[in-house]
Amino acid sequence: MRRILVALKRVIDYNVRVRVRPDGSGVVTDGVKMSINPFDEIALEEALRIRERGGADEVLAISIGPDDTQQQLRNALAMGADRAILVKSAQAIEPPAVARVLLAFVERETPMLVILGKQAIDDDCSQTGQMLAALWQRPQATFASKLELTEKVARVTREVDAGLETIEVDLPAVITTDLRLNEPRYIKLPDIMKAKKKPLDVVELASLGLDAASQLTVVGLEPPPQRKKGVMVKDAAELVATLRQKGLV
């Protein structure tokens, strides 16, 4: 069985304007829309396309989070994942612990590829894929904008500061996705009905017997310093004159 494991994180929806709670204990989540992390959605889309081209037999979606994360996994199944696993944890766990959980499932499911987003848009850590690859002692191809597969090798184009870098990695490997890898499909109503019949296993994090303890403590959150709205100038001449006066040009 040529399997692709896709890791998904439930996050505050991309379009929500995130606000820090007045007491600094976190951000406002009451009544806020939650979604699959957009980079992970791209990861799932890529896995589905590989399977649809005949490059894989099964797409397994896995997430770690509270019980409500089943909604995001149902959406993943509706997009086309074959089955899903929720590792239930009321507490958010840090990337090293996420990597250990994913490794446990990698060892059980022996995927040819693990694909996940290059970062989650909540903690913006950008760590999990690389950590999993290290623990698994397998290659990593991060920030992927193009992925070509042969039987034993993945050729990955990566978005790096200099431009586009292409590397070749032996399978199995970990791929993390950048924005331009693909555009995820929309879910159609019949797919939602079909997804209800697909298997979604729920496993308690504690039952895995892994060290998932936090190693970092978030002491507090504060809103960022706000830039003040400046002045409007009427034309190009005034703009250049102002910048010149300030010594900026």
């Binding site: 999990t128 991060t142 990566r158 500061d161 200099a162 924005l179 978030v218 034309d235 703009l239 910048l243």
Partner: protein, 312 residues
């Protein structure tokens, strides 16, 4: 004593300017002793440049033919070996550092702090979360080794100093062959580097086409500026990916940032909030970019760009 190891990013024999900013960040840690690791084929020029940064105690040079072009899977076991006994391991928050440092952290069984923007103590740091909509103060356990990437836009480069001694060291680490470099396509230009430029001119979707996007080149030339782009402009194919400024692109802190035809999505603003002065030019007076711009100009950018150029 806090022993801090900084991993040097370099390309074509040149030390990346982000390294001197990592040194600034590390120097903010009390009682810091800073080593810079240069992993290269030869690396003598890079090591000499790193040795000339004030605050650097030693440069550790690891010569290995496998070290260039840089591959995280190859570098990580070597860095992990060098990091033994260090309290902190830092790398720049560039794609090089973001790729490498978590792999190092996992090998060291250490937690990582991504995008450190301020140092409060040896164990307490600030970093942005939610695309910069919140700043988290994070504490690591005392005595626990910490890996971090340094948000380069938050730090000034350390001054010139030294020279610190360069020690060529051998590292006993097994290097994988499962990852191979194929190629890199990078636009070569005479413009300043986007990440370190003092002035940046960026274009957005309102430019409307790849041909029109070239209009901002003239203005950038006049200003001696680097060119940037919004995600929308990159997605539309007007500009290459390496020019993207924002949450998932480059985070920059130029003296002058000129946003042309960029509406100012929160993800874009994340990338420019440390700019000293922001100028926005947009035909939509309601565009969110004007909420953060120091100077705003509403109008048709196709007539305004040449006018501004003429005035300069």
């Amino acid at each position: 004593m806090n022993r801090i190891l900084i991993v040097a990013e370099h390309l074509d024999g040149k030390l990346n300017a982000a390294v001197a900013k990592c040194v600034s960040c590390a120097s903010a840690i009390p009682d810091a002793e800073i080593d810079v690791a240069v992993l290269a084929i030869d690396g003598s020029a890079v090591a000499a440049a790193a040795a000339g940064i004030a605050g650097v105690k030693r440069v550790l040079l690891v010569k290995n033919a496998a070290n260039e072009p840089a591959l995280a899977a190859v570098l990580a076991p070597q860095v992990a070996e060098l990091a033994k006994g260090c309290s902190h391991v830092f790398g720049p928050s560039t794609t090089f550092g973001k790729d490498l440092m978590p792999r190092v952290a996992a090998l060291l069984d250490a937690p990582q702090l991504s995008d450190v923007m301020a140092v409060e103590s040896a164990t307490r740091f600030k970093r942005p979360v939610y695309a910069g909509n919140a700043i988290a103060t994070v504490e690591s356990a005392a005595g626990r080794q910490v890996v971090a990437t340094v948000r380069v836009a938050s730090f000034q480069p350390a001054a010139a100093g030294g020279p610190a001694p360069v020690e060529t060291v051998a590292v006993a680490a097994e290097l994988p062959s499962h990852t191979r470099f194929v190629s890199v396509t990078a636009a070569r230009s005479d413009r300043p580097d986007l990440q370190t430029a003092a002035r940046v001119v960026s274009g957005g979707r309102a430019l409307g086409s790849k041909e029109n996007f070239a209009l901002i080149q003239g203005l950038a030339d006049r200003l001696g500026a680097a060119i940037g782009a919004s995600r929308a402009a990159v997605d539309a194919g007007y500009a290459p990916n390496e020019l993207q400024v924002g949450q998932t692109g480059k985070i920059i802190a130029p003296e002058l940032y000129v946003a042309i035809g960029i509406s100012g999505a929160i993800q874009h603003l994340t990338g420019i909030k440390d700019a000293r002065t922001i100028v926005a030019i947009n035909k939509d007076a309601e565009a969110p970019i004007f909420e953060v711009a120091d100077y705003g100009l509403v109008g048709d950018l196709f007539s305004l760009i040449p006018e501004i150029e003429k005035q300069l």
